[in-house]
Symmetry: C2
Subunit: 384 residues, 2 copies
């Protein structure tokens, strides 16, 4: 099957398509507690490297987008720090959601905003808290995704080759392959699958045609706006009202009132799953490989894996002043300004901030959000 | 067998005996690293309660001694902090060893100092870093020990009823019991036994007549001085010279020169073992029960046990601001000013200071000195 842009050459297309990245940065980031807090979520932390996650997100978009075309959707607690970290982005393109409503309203709002003036603009949705080891490959894949999305009513998603039967991610079931002679192999999407149980995840892995949903979606503003009208029609009215008020003195008030009306639902559930139910051919959803060293750094242990050469390595983070380890391996310790001494301990995660000390294990670090919930329920909002 | 003071009544004896405690406070205290450092050894830390170990040591001697009769033998690094912590002790009775020489020279020096003016003074040697849960009972036992030591050439040691086959302590093999109608049951000492291997420790425990050497020794100045002349004669000359210079302008210089000549050896090895080799009857060493809740707090895990109600308890030390624990038990955490969050961890020891973070387990915490050695060998003297 040929690529759906048919006769268009890359160059022609490249010159014609306007691409507008929408960076989603409203996450509350409890998984990296105690470093991450409500007002200092994961995306504004430099968990890996010197620049923050959102700064790195923007940086790798530079080869494929004009900075003046980038939107950021965040929340009121994070807006200031994000504006400070991303001075390239114009202030009016950093929107703070008046309330948390998951990804569907955020993506849809961007579509309605752009549809008013430039419905052909291709819009890419990007999480702000993932890492990419190979930014050059990222740019290549994005260019292909943009072309594919620009060629009609296509929706492009990015799939990560799974390396383990992970139950924490959604999966994409891939169908038939597109033109194998293209530099980037695309598949039609058969179905989106929610986070599976362990048994199902094993089955997905064995089947071979399942990939992790990388959380990156590309489509034209018109395609997305129409998909909203079709699959979540009750959301269209409020979002059109917000888009109409954008740039006026009414905007904040309209945004606050109408956004609250929107359903709290992810774009995966609200649009992609419903669309994929139409069948592989009619849904026109395509999956490109996120083969650029994608990592969502979902927990302290995944950061540990990302930073260590091997799982046996002790990783000292936060500019520790030294490490002494005796019969200890596979530990992750964040202890800025301290010398760390390990004696007979394996697989621990220890994270220290000025007001808190977390001690857990690699295996349990994905449950840190449970701790955060317990802290919240105890009324210790100073720690949240 | 009657008590060896024969016809003397307690009251008569109590009125006549002068008692001079000698607090040994020269230990380097590596086992409580990173809280303990060379210049902030265990004995000057408040590991348990609000007062430091050495302050508590002095406090429990108050019922049995005049404060003006107390001596402290420490080192140059600790002298200032000890003088500040013990303002009751006159400055000239806080001696700083010019070099570390273990307990034999320190005890012997005290004996020679006192022998010059008051050879009948009973001298008690006390570690400065142990805890005593029942100070009233401690005072009772000490009164009996003082009487026993005052009645001739007797040496009195204190034995702790063992609760486990500990290989980290010396043992005392007890012989025949003295007058069972006395309020405090004393035994003649058969032999001193060095720290045993695990198998031997099991045997000692099973035998029933072995107790741990509690490190407290009581004897008259004359008895100890004569024991030095008999068992470590080469040490007598230097120490007599130091004693003779005490109170003169030559003291510091003589102390530095002569003390360095003394053998680096413990009083247990140098005197008590050798004396006990003379046989139970001729050695005149008596053991009284240290049944006053003795604990030497030998490691972080023993402090944990001491502070916790049960071994399953999580003990938060250092005025933490809160604890959140999920599926975690038996952890000891010292994290001043922080809230501690535990998730799925058991039996850990975590100790934080402004410059260092120790992470180990209860089981391994007695090996903290190995870490300290590694740190020393790496040249990081700032952490020692």
């Amino acid at each position: 099957m040929p690529y759906p842009w048919g006769f268009m050459s890359n160059e022609t297309l490249g010159a014609r398509v306007r691409f507008s990245p929408v960076i989603l940065a409203g996450g509350s980031g409890t998984r990296f507690w105690p470093r991450s807090r409500r007002a200092r979520a994961k995306q504004v932390l430099a968990l890996q490297g010197e620049r923050t996650m959102i700064q790195q997100t923007l940086e790798r978009l530079q080869p494929v987008a004009e900075m003046s075309d980038v939107w950021v959707i965040t929340n009121a607690l994070l807006r200031d720090v994000i504006q400070a970290q991303l001075p390239e982005i114009s202030v009016e393109k950093v929107l703070a959601e008046p309330c948390a409503r998951n990804t569907a309203p955020a993506c849809a709002l961007a579509a309605f905003l752009l549809e008013r003036t430039e419905p052909d603009t291709v819009l890419g949705v990007f999480p702000s808290d993932h890492v990419v080891a190979n930014p050059a490959r990222f740019a290549e894949v994005m260019q292909a995704a943009i072309k594919l999305a620009a060629a009609g009513e296509n929706i492009v998603v990015l799939g990560v080759q799974p390396t383990r039967p992970e139950t924490g991610y959604g999966y994409i079931e891939q169908g038939s392959m597109l033109a194998a002679d293209e530099p980037i192999v695309a598949h039609r999407v058969k179905r989106f699958r929610e986070k599976p149980d362990a048994h199902t995840a094993e089955r997905f892995l064995a089947a071979g045609n399942f990939v992790w949903n990388g959380g990156i979606f590309v489509w034209s503003a018109r395609t997305l706006a129409n998909a909203v009208r079709e699959h979540i029609p009750e959301m269209a009215g409020p979002l059109e009202a917000i888009a109409a008020a954008y740039g006026t003195s009414e905007f904040e008030a309209v945004f606050a009132k109408e956004y609250a009306e929107c359903e709290n639902i992810s774009v995966d559930y609200a649009i992609l799953e419903r669309r994929s139910a139409k069948g592989e051919k009619r849904s026109n959803i395509f999956c490109l490989p996120a083969d650029f060293g994608w990592n969502d750094l979902g927990s302290w242990s995944s950061l540990h894996e990302h930073l260590g050469q091997t799982p046996q390595d002790n990783v000292m983070d936060g500019e520790t002043t030294g490490l002494f380890a005796i019969q200890s391996k596979g530990n992750y310790v964040y202890a800025p300004g301290k010398t760390v001494a390990l004696l007979g301990v394996d697989g621990l995660v220890v994270v220290e901030t000025p007001d808190a000390l977390l001690i857990t294990t690699s295996a349990r670090s994905q449950d840190v959000s449970k701790l955060v919930r317990a802290i919240h329920e105890s009324g210790r909002e100073d720690l949240i």
